[in-house]
Amino acid sequence: MTDKNTTTNTTTSADDAAFVDAYERRIAGGDSAALPAQWREEIEQMARIHAKIAALPMPEVSPAVRSVVLTAAAQVAAESREPKSLFATIAQFLFRPGPILVGAMAAALALAVAVRPDKAPAPVAVSGPVAALDPPSAPQPVAAPPPALAAAPAAPEPATEPGGAGAVHEAAAAAVPRAEAPPATGSPKDHAGVDDEGLRRDAAPIAAEAASVAPDSSNKPAEQVAGQVAGQVAGQVAGQVAGGAVRARANHAASAKAEPQQAFAQPPPQTVKNLDEAESARPQGFAQAPDKRAAAQAMLGAVDAGKANNAKADVAKNSGANYASKDKQAAQNDDAAPQANREGQQAVLKKTAEVKAEANEERANQAYRSQPSNAAPKAALPNSAADNKPTDNAADNSQVAKLREQADKVVDPSKKLAILKALHAAALKAGDVKQAQWAKAQIEVAEAGRIAPAKVTRQPAAEPVNRAKAGADAQH
């Protein structure tokens, strides 16, 4: 693409132009006598060549090309002939990127202004984080609460401190016989295994999230305790609730600074004498707790079915525990409750922890019993497990069996927990759903035992607890 005569062009451009102009005049029919003498011969020669070139036939264009072009032209011409109505003109004007963008931004701004919480958080707001994360009016796609608690949401809510009336409620709920299905343990029991107000405060929104993601809440046995669900689900829903949780924590901190532990001055535990009182004293944040519990149980069932039983769930659980422990520390810092109240709560919490530990153990056994040989589909496993070759599975299965034997023999809780975790991982790798489920359940029991170690009575993992005995225990 290089012009070989660039230098010449620049030096003799006027000369070139004159030559070309003379040539043009000649081929246009001009007289050769009028040509400059120095170019006359050359121009005459070029004129003859030009005549030969002009005599060459022009190439024919395919008729198909003409057809295509004229068809397109006819379409465009028809469109341009169509009279546009006023509506079409206005619509064409409006549905351009500019007006659409402006309209969308205006709508978004109006929506943001409409939904913005322009009220400052009240100092005596109902359980800051619980109220923020779990508004009572929020729809809960779960089953109806049990009859014993059905009237609870309408009851007055004198207590604003989660650890006070909430703990009483937990105790009362834990005292409900298990034989009654669904049990009147409600969501507070989900937090009974923890002996700290901060953990319980966080457990409520997490359980609410579990309720929102639970596929079905009506088919699970009443004895299943959803205590661990909070930890398991917390990580899964952490992304969903992170923003709200941060805001809720900020609100809670503000309200705690304004009026520290005002809630403890409200109903002392000893004034609550029966379940109805406990329900009436239940804070607003726990108003829909039974529903959440049912949904949480359903979520736990999904976990049992292998849908949430993978390494990701473990990570989520850990993150949830971290979150809970952070808030626990914050609650401890903020806590200025009277010591008398605290002792009463500790007694109640201790009892609920005992009940929870029993329920955890029974749940683990039930999960093991209820597992058929091929209960979980292969697709529910992680891909790495589902894609393993049979030759790899043989070695993995032997490893699983070996770990299972060790898990059955070891008594030390910490060692057993480590072995169970290894067994869980190996079972997942080998694709042994049954062993993985069992190990998972045992891990949960062992971890729950760490929280309330005094009450956990370990039994051989392979032997399910007698169901009648569990029911009898619940009657106490």
Binding site: M1, S13, D16, A17, F19, K52, P59, L70, A72, A73
Partner: protein, 205 residues
């Protein structure tokens, strides 16, 4: 009745005497016949230009160029000549096609097809392009062959200017606009193209 026929004939004659820009104005007003007339005026010259520019599929260049004209007719305001616009589109299409074909492995135009004595692919394409048949006289065929070779050996800029001027009929001002150069440069390129062709085709002069 015959008055209506005469009126129709006069209308047809009238539209055919319109200039390119007036035809484009009629086309944008909804008269698709106007574009048909524009096509008939310029399609063959456009194909010849595409061939000389080395387009592998000159018919595609013609079709794409006119389709672009159809699609962008509303944007044609008559500030430039239609022919300049059309050939600028075709030139850009040829440049794009040349860039695409640069990395395409294809048979050489100078390689003989079939037997060693048979015509080359370039000769076959040239013959097909001009629609020659077996009855064409040998002198014209020989001139065509030498002319094509000489034209192919010109630098791209000179060949482009010569083709646009001699085959497509654009003025130097239009060529300068289409190639985005000044008119004196165009004339310089034209002069050296003429000189090279005169040297190559001296036997036919």
């Amino acid at each position: 009745m015959w008055l209506l026929g005469i009126a129709l004939i006069l209308a047809m004659v009238a539209i055919e005497t319109l200039g390119d820009e007036a035809l484009m104005e009629r086309f944008t007003g909804g008269d698709s016949r106007a574009l048909g007339l524009l096509y008939d005026r310029h399609a063959r010259a456009l194909k010849a230009f595409a061939i000389q520019q080395g387009a592998a599929r000159p018919d595609d260049v013609v079709q794409d160029a006119f389709l672009r004209v159809v699609r962008n007719a509303a944007g044609f305001k008559g500030q430039a000549k239609f022919r300049t616009w059309l050939f600028t589109i075709a030139r850009n299409l040829c440049v794009d096609a040349s860039r695409r074909d640069r990395f395409r492995n294809g048979p050489s135009l100078d390689a003989p097809m079939g037997d060693d004595d048979g015509p080359t692919l370039g000769e076959r394409i040239a013959s097909d392009a001009v629609g020659l048949d077996a009855s064409r006289n040998t002198a014209d065929l020989q001139f065509r062959k030498v002319y094509d070779v000489a034209l192919d050996r010109l630098p791209d800029e000179q060949r482009e200017v010569f083709t646009l001027r001699e085959i497509s009929g654009l003025s130097f001002a239009e060529i300068a606009e289409a190639t985005q150069t000044n008119e004196n440069t165009v004339k310089s390129r034209m002069r050296y193209a003429l000189k090279a062709l005169r040297d190559a085709l001296a036997d036919f002069a």
